[in-house]
Symmetry: D3
Amino acid sequence: MERSARFERGAARLAEMGGDIANITGPLADVAPDLATLVGEFAFGDLYTRPGLDLPQRQLVTIAALVTLGDTERQLRFHTNAALDVGLKPSEIVETVIHLLAFAGNPRVFNAMLTVKGVFAERGLLPVE
Amino acid sequence: MERSARFERGAARLAEMGGDIANITGPLADVAPDLATLVGEFAFGDLYTRPGLDLPQRQLVTIAALVTLGDTERQLRFHTNAALDVGLKPSEIVETVIHLLAFAGNPRVFNAMLTVKGVFAERGLLPVE
Amino acid sequence: MERSARFERGAARLAEMGGDIANITGPLADVAPDLATLVGEFAFGDLYTRPGLDLPQRQLVTIAALVTLGDTERQLRFHTNAALDVGLKPSEIVETVIHLLAFAGNPRVFNAMLTVKGVFAERGLLPVE
Amino acid sequence: MERSARFERGAARLAEMGGDIANITGPLADVAPDLATLVGEFAFGDLYTRPGLDLPQRQLVTIAALVTLGDTERQLRFHTNAALDVGLKPSEIVETVIHLLAFAGNPRVFNAMLTVKGVFAERGLLPVE
Amino acid sequence: MERSARFERGAARLAEMGGDIANITGPLADVAPDLATLVGEFAFGDLYTRPGLDLPQRQLVTIAALVTLGDTERQLRFHTNAALDVGLKPSEIVETVIHLLAFAGNPRVFNAMLTVKGVFAERGLLPVE
Amino acid sequence: MERSARFERGAARLAEMGGDIANITGPLADVAPDLATLVGEFAFGDLYTRPGLDLPQRQLVTIAALVTLGDTERQLRFHTNAALDVGLKPSEIVETVIHLLAFAGNPRVFNAMLTVKGVFAERGLLPVE
């Protein structure tokens, strides 16, 4: 598959976030390789490389959206790791989730906090100060 | 339990879709047998047997709703199988899920594609051409 | 603003659907012209021009997603018009909305049907046969 | 940690519902102890102790919200147990979930019923009469 | 149109709730008369006439679902009126909405309370004691 | 009504955000004054005054949640004003909404941008640079 400049830009951005485009292209290779291309090009190549917000700000926004949306454990796990990799402190991620008590309700917040905790545990970041 | 004509019609429709009403009545038998009756009568007996859309069209609509709703892995698994059984091609199901990038967001689409892939794998339909 | 090939392809696709890209670029011009560009390129230029589903199938999928998502009256109005313009019959649109009783619940279906009715009324398509 | 009067009132209320505040404070201790405090104080200390609805009524409302929201299996499990502990009959819980066919759609109802069934099974309450 | 026994039962139940089936059949007559039939038969004829919960309990459940779902102002207005007509006190409806702060978040609760207030105002029930 | 220290702290925080607690207490006075108290105390007094995130960060998180949740036009209008009042630039708000194309889908983003535009227009902030 020939990769577009947008896709290459997206893959590079993803790498800055601690991710690996192969984790998107791999699982989709035999079912929907075009989905990997579209996500790499659009979400990471177009949106995530825009100016206007820096990566820590984008990760606050992304985490808030994922917590609110629900049924996003896989994505929240990835984006919590990415949030840490672009410099957000564990306490900022925790605070973001707590803040959402007012907007998304307790169940979304509680589930998300346990997912976030799992990521922190894997990275040896517990207890959060 | 006496089964109504609507229920029998629903069970027959479900069978055309590759399903088995016993997979609905069985797990609900000791907790809520009436739920199985209501779903068999209404969803499959009333709605799924209506004219106006053919079964492949209905499965496009159903899959789109399940992907958008979220937290529907069990249902998406069933209705992906049903979609194949009523004649949709794997590529049409894949394309339906990809199309929803514009309306339901990446997390819903990505999760759904992995569920769909699981069904295709069980049926030996990978790779999708 | 220089328009990309993807954007031009999207604008052309939108025109086939009875839409006008100016209705997207216009309202966004002084607040977020890039949003119009991104939507024109990605949703209409990339996704809506893909093979795998024809336009009537795509509009079934889109309408199902919009009904299920909720708070989409503006979009449902546009995509009902587009559905008619690409050849879906009013009765197929009505049937799609009714089918969603099983998946999205009565309030989503009832609200959507009144929106659809409004579009049909504007186009002189009532009563639906 | 010094516990506020609101928190103590919440912990007591939770105990009346068959719960144990330690099951909230424990898992959050090393990631977000403040979240446990806020939930104990606000949800259980402020809201759940208000007059105006009795506990069985509150559990009907809570279960309806959890089923409709989706992605709430953990919470639905807890609040089904609590509903039984405050005196709701299994048949009332089952009927609440069935009623939601009209508002939340079949997938939410079906998933919820299986969760409810799991709780009933653990408590030896099957079959439901 | 010939009306089924289920539909007649639903229409009668709706009348007990202070509603009028003509308000459902009327607006749908020229676009989707079958939708009115299906809702009358299933939601009101099958579900709302079941034993297991009384009408005040059902209205607590319904209101909780509508508030949580969102984009349901029209339905919440109807079901608030119905709740009053089947004997719930304004203070019980208010308390139900407040309780949902813990599960559905502030925006859903705030919007719902303003809708509920509108109904109370029309019926001369303000201020709520 | 006697106001708690938490409520007074919340009212003060709200004032820093350009809001006025009277706009919450006023409309709720004759229907649910306790709701105003609870929101003032908890959302603004407890959550919004926590350390860990500054107010501009909190407004990014809040806006992301409101856009994703949907049916939040009233809240988005308030919190867009608040975001400006605590120092976010119009371009940062716009960029937050655009970023959500990847997570919440086009309809949520498009509706939100028009709401945001309305606020900017009222404050003479168009065109956004």
